[in-house]
Symmetry: C2
Subunit: 280 residues, 2 copies
Amino acid sequence: MKIKTLTIVGVGLIGGSIGLAASRRGVAERVLGTSRYQASLDRARSLGIIDGGYLEVVPAVHQADVAVFCTPVDRIPAQILEAAPGCSPGTLLTDAGSTKAAIVHAVESRMPAGVAFVGSHPLAGSEKRSLEFADADLFKDRLTVVTQTAHTEPASLERTIDFWQALGSRVRVMHPEDHDKAVALTSHLPHLLASALAGILPGSLRDLTATGFRDTTRVAAGDPSIWTGVFLQNKTAVLHALDLYGESLDRFRHALENEDAAGLDQLLSYAKKVRDALGS
Amino acid sequence: MKIKTLTIVGVGLIGGSIGLAASRRGVAERVLGTSRYQASLDRARSLGIIDGGYLEVVPAVHQADVAVFCTPVDRIPAQILEAAPGCSPGTLLTDAGSTKAAIVHAVESRMPAGVAFVGSHPLAGSEKRSLEFADADLFKDRLTVVTQTAHTEPASLERTIDFWQALGSRVRVMHPEDHDKAVALTSHLPHLLASALAGILPGSLRDLTATGFRDTTRVAAGDPSIWTGVFLQNKTAVLHALDLYGESLDRFRHALENEDAAGLDQLLSYAKKVRDALGS
């Protein structure tokens, strides 16, 4: 895959890592970036992430052969719909948002002729959102979900798959709703649980936390302005995952209330087996 | 602090790290270790953790000036009560268990004359339990709780504090019940939450987990045979912590059900503030 101009809308951790990976792997000849802050654009330039920076989304996207929207999920649809009309025929638009159904359905049937949108979600990143943590290998051997619906043109789907693979990622094609249900459990629920736990730590016990508390709550350090949008866009699936989780918690509670050592051991052993299978 | 013979009952991650730290820092002239498995003793010897190994607890403890019980919490009281009668006058017994009230109250009033027991809990370690991860710096700058009750002799308390400080640890003195309430929230609850989450991951979604799921469930890889005992010994405080957590989860749920963006943002922002204050 060879892209003449790649535009990254929102140069934070994910956008910055896309820029670095695209340059280092020779995927893009030129990388443009957008941010609301000139300082971020200057920093992205000095880190070698972008060749040119724009405070406005539209002019940067209009120069692109491929544009990736890496902004918070509640801003992505409007930005795509605003930028698409002036794009050259053949332009591919995609995104890196943690929800897919709301974005894909708001956007895909409203693309002008010759401009394609295919949704993406690289399962990479961390609670650290800053450009300073941008990493050319962030996607290496990680999974990116690329969405397919009845509206998705096969050629654009292939191009999107090629793009993420060129950045080092593995790719799985999923329907947006299937993606959202899956990540409600694997990503959005853990964030909610971690935040709910961090929220009950009294200051007086801070000194009594060790690696267990710190690991379990690590994602709670994520940016609230990003996560509020994610939770709201994926409300139904997250609430369903929370119900499932409540049932699981109840099983532990009942075993403990009944001092059921064998039952507790069984629940803990199953959880350990699942966790061990994930690796570190 | 200079100990002639330090005996470590149970040479796993914690016991092994105590042995390494005591040798490297010149705290003990000789370190004895016990394990139910000859292979563990051989390995501990070859790693330089112990100078002599015993399959039986009693003869190893009878040679000790200081003995630290690093076995699962449900085995510690019986082991101490069995070993204490033949100890030399002046022997200090302590432990490294994650619960304190059940152990301290079962043991402290039944010590023979001249033998002291003071409870300890180093807040260190990880889901990795094996001797292979033993680390001379495991306790460095970490906190160890040392317990004090009406039965605790001041001189033995001081000696216990000195011991952990000599291994590099900071020390906080707490009443056993206060300790148990605190760690119910900061350690036992996170373990339960992580296990309850790991327990609902279908195999088909394993590939869709990223750092968020992995961090949040990491402690669920801990040894069930250790944790079942911890939960049962600290049942009341863990159930209370679980109630508090349920209320916290409900606040997130209600904000999400009501699509209360400001409320969600507020909950997430508070959790982030708490988590940020803990550092990495």
